[in-house]
């Protein structure tokens, strides 16, 4: 693989696919969890980048610059995916369990009896398998659109939550509620579908 010209102010679109397309595709895929959509986003990214070539000043590397364009495309997607006039916490997914599903409002917010975390140590689990990762992906797919990206970015980059908030246009309290609910949902999904408890 040839070296990128990242110490110069020039871009080389003829090398973009070879050098970055897989990375960009993965980047998009984990945020939208949809193969076709991820490919479309990469395509949109390259097209937008070609239009914006004049704006590249070389402060960021070519890869970083492309990723930032892709991020914007992804954010546009989230905006379209969440239906009009919904607050960040009431996204269009009807599959996301509410707090009441997990916690009993009456009893000081304790776990509902059927959602109490079970003991994972009782089953022998090999998490390091393709099948597990498929289950993980499926559980991720259950999250509302925007939550997927927030969740991913937060976990992967040990997020500076301020950065994630900025990128997803969230207040910090919204961000924490999303992370809380996403974690609750993911944990329950894995317990049910992988550990089969």
């Amino acid at each position: 693989m040839e070296k990128t010209l990242n110490n110069q102010n020039s871009l080389d679109p003829s090398k973009w696919v070879e050098l970055y397309s897989d990375y960009l595709y993965r980047f998009a895929y984990y945020r939208v969890n949809n193969d076709e959509l991820a490919q479309d986003l990469v395509q949109d990214c390259f097209l937008a980048a070609l239009k914006a070539v004049e704006t590249y000043k070389g402060q960021a590397s070519e890869k970083t610059w492309l990723v930032s364009i892709l991020k914007n495309k992804i954010i546009d997607h989230y905006k379209k995916a969440s239906t009009r006039n919904e607050s960040p916490l009431q996204l269009s997914s009807y599959t996301a369990p509410s707090y009441d599903y997990f916690f009993d409002k009456e009893a000081k917010g304790h776990w509902q009896s059927d959602t109490k975390p079970k003991d994972w140590a009782v089953t022998e689990n090999n998490f390091d398998t393709k099948e597990f990762y498929k289950t993980l992906e499926n559980c991720l797919a259950e999250l509302p659109e925007k939550w997927k990206g927030v969740f991913t970015m937060s976990l992967l980059h040990d997020a500076d939550s301020k950065l994630v908030c900025k990128e997803f246009d969230l207040s910090s309290s919204n961000f924490w509620v999303i992370m809380h609910r996403a974690k609750l949902q993911m944990r329950a999904c894995l317990e049910k579908h992988w550990l089969k408890l």
Binding site: V17, L89, H110, P117, L136, W176, M179
Partner: protein, 92 residues
């Protein structure tokens, strides 16, 4: 808006919903002294929230490993199509 009342945890109303919330928040943001105390005390007495906390850590690790394992790639066909698109749109 449903959510958690920030900074209004009282010891006599602090429950599992609050504890799991602070568990998640504490991964990324420093908790106040009173938040830490409320959370730690709750974890001592509540095995379900202890489970949540350790399972939460496990999920974090698994998720990061998931990314590390990924061998998602674009097909050669798709790459060729993209290259063509770039060539067509580069001509100005």
């Amino acid at each position: 808006m449903e959510g958690i009342k920030e900074h209004k945890h009282k010891w006599y109303t602090f429950g599992c919903k609050d504890a799991t919330y602070l568990t998640v928040k504490g991964e990324n943001a420093p908790l106040s002294l009173s938040e830490k105390m409320l959370l730690n005390f709750h974890l001592i007495i509540c095995k379900y929230c202890r489970r949540f906390a350790s399972q939460n850590r496990q999920i974090n690790q698994l998720f990061r490993a998931f990314y590390g394992k990924s061998d998602l790639k674009l097909s050669p066909n798709k790459k060729e199509a993209l290259n063509q698109l770039i060539t067509e749109n580069s001509k100005k």
